[in-house]
């Protein structure tokens, strides 16, 4: 019996990798080790249905408990791996126990970036990363409470929407000039600011938080310009820091993520990485990227499993992402660093529209608000990588699917 394939990190990427490896290698011993006490689960429901009290933690689990036993995947939860010895192919857990691997997958994800401003380390400042965070937040938010949200990215906006849904008053403090500034063109960030304002949220962009001070039954946010904001609850959503320490201490190449090739291989032929922690070479973008998205975890898990099994790798995906806020669905595809043209389709006033980003006439990205059927044609046009008929994109009477098909056909 050979040493097992060990997967460190039992989140979505780790869980899916284990399942995919089992499907490809029916006899291989597989050990899935996770620091959290929960079995593998996906995170999107944490800021939405779970926070709203509309779903249970079990509904976020990737699989029912019996699945891991049935698949003969040994699951060790509540176990943090502290040391990786690549020479001995040995891992050491926090409790001192050791395990050897034949091959290793690092799917250690990320942890919330913490506030470093004075008072930012107040234990009452909350973060939302895992099921326990979400359950605690759900229990704490009540109608009429004032919730201060630090960070106008996806987590901040989804928590804002859910908090409004729970009857709380909400203020969003965002340092940058736009909401969703990392993800979307500025004009769309403005649209989202108006969306949240229309729902009664106070949105402060271009606003620096300088300190947090305790107050009776709450916290005071001190903003640049001497303004203060008293909150009953504060949630910070300012990004994640990839959990690369295990890899870095073992001498693997780390650069805001564990660096891998397109197949998820690190510089060590026995070690792979997948999910939020991985900075993988993306063949479509021609560069390394670390993606924090549900689909990325799914795709990289399948890719790493294929590489482990010596099977054909799945084709690369266009980066794709969704966010649900209130009753609105936002999707974005592509990860362009630049664009010289934006085409808007649909009706922003009716919250049903699509924005397509072009560079040199080629579709490089797209965003759809309540118009998800446009996302597949947009991804197809990104994959085609050829200049598209811009007039057709602009013409509301011409379906995007038709324009995308014509682009694909013209080779």
């Amino acid at each position: 019996m050979s040493d097992p394939i060990v997967i460190v990190g039992a989140g979505q990427a780790g869980g899916r990798t284990a399942a995919a490896v089992r499907a490809a290698l029916p006899e291989a011993p597989i050990l899935l080790v996770g620091a959290e006490r929960h079995p593998p689960y996906e995170r999107p429901p944490l800021s939405k249905d779970l926070l709203l009290g509309r779903s249970t933690p079990e509904q976020a689990h990737l699989q029912p408990a019996v699945f891991w036993e049935e698949q003969k995947i040994t699951l060790r939860l509540g176990t943090e791996i502290r040391w990786l010895d690549r020479q001995a192919r040995r891992l050491t857990a926090a409790d001192g126990s050791g395990m050897v691997y034949d091959r290793l997958v690092l799917a250690t994800g990320g942890r919330p970036r913490r506030l470093t401003i004075p008072g930012g380390d107040d234990p009452r400042v909350r973060y939302l990363r895992d099921i326990d965070d979400a359950l605690a937040l759900r229990a704490a938010i009540r109608p009429g409470l004032h919730v201060g949200i630090i960070g106008g990215g996806v987590i901040g906006l989804e928590v804002a929407a859910s908090a409004r849904g729970l009857g709380a008053d909400v203020t969003i403090i965002e340092l940058g000039p736009k909401l969703l500034g990392r993800m979307l063109p500025g004009s769309l960030g403005d649209w989202f600011a108006e969306l949240h304002r229309s729902k009664g949220v106070t949105v402060c962009t271009g606003t620096a938080l300088t300190a947090i001070e305790p107050a009776t039954d709450g916290l005071v946010l001190r903003l640049a310009g001497a303004e203060t904001l008293r909150c009953d609850l504060v949630v910070a959503g300012i990004g994640i820091v990839p959990n690369t320490e295990l890899a870095a201490e073992a001498g693997l190449d780390v650069d805001d993520g564990i660096v891998t090739d397109a197949a998820g291989r690190t510089g060590d032929p026995s070690i792979f990485a997948a999910g939020d922690v991985a900075r993988a070479f993306h063949p479509l973008l021609g560069r390394h990227v670390r993606l924090e998205a549900w689909r990325n975890a799914e795709t990289q898990a399948r890719t790493v499993a294929a590489a482990l099994a010596g099977a054909e790798l799945p084709p690369p995906d266009v980066p794709w992402f969704w966010s649900d806020q209130y009753d609105l669905n936002l999707q974005a595809a592509g990860l362009p660093r630049a664009w010289d043209d934006l085409v808007w389709r649909g009706d922003p006033a009716a919250a049903k529209f699509t924005v397509i980003a072009l560079e040199d006439g080629v579709v490089v990205g797209g965003v759809a608000v309540n118009q998800g059927r446009d996302m597949r044609p947009i991804q197809n046009m990104i994959l085609a990588g050829r200049p598209v008929d811009r007039a057709a994109l602009e013409n509301p009477r011409i379906q995007l699917a038709a324009t995308a098909r014509n682009l694909g056909a013209a080779s």
Partner: protein
């Protein structure tokens, strides 16, 4: 089970999923090369209408999280969707589409 009038063939095209409510249930109608097919219109993963989704090669993609289903069998083709869509028998007579339901 009886055949219910569901719509007109002329209202469907390969890119346009039709929707009709029969006996209080929303039904999606799809025009494929080999005929008209019918499934429940509501995604099994989250509330969304398949009639707002993207149809290609006999696969309907849910408009909000891109879950994919085989239109002919209703089979959920992978995460995020795991529960199949209910399917209904459909037939076309002249220009009329009929769906078989209780």
């Amino acid at each position: 089970m009886t055949w219910h009038l569901a719509g007109k063939l002329a209202d469907l095209d390969p890119d346009t999923v039709g929707v009709v409510t029969i006996e209080g249930q929303q039904i999606a109608l799809y025009l494929l090369e080999d005929g008209v097919f019918a499934t429940s219109n509501i995604c099994t993963h989250a509330y969304a209408c398949m009639s707002d989704g993207y149809l290609e090669d006999g696969i309907i993609e849910c408009p909000i999280h891109a879950g994919r289903f085989d239109v002919r069998t209703g089979k959920a083709l992978g995460a995020p969707v795991t529960v199949d869509l209910e399917t209904f028998e459909a037939k076309v007579e002249d220009d009329a589409i009929f769906v078989k339901m209780p």
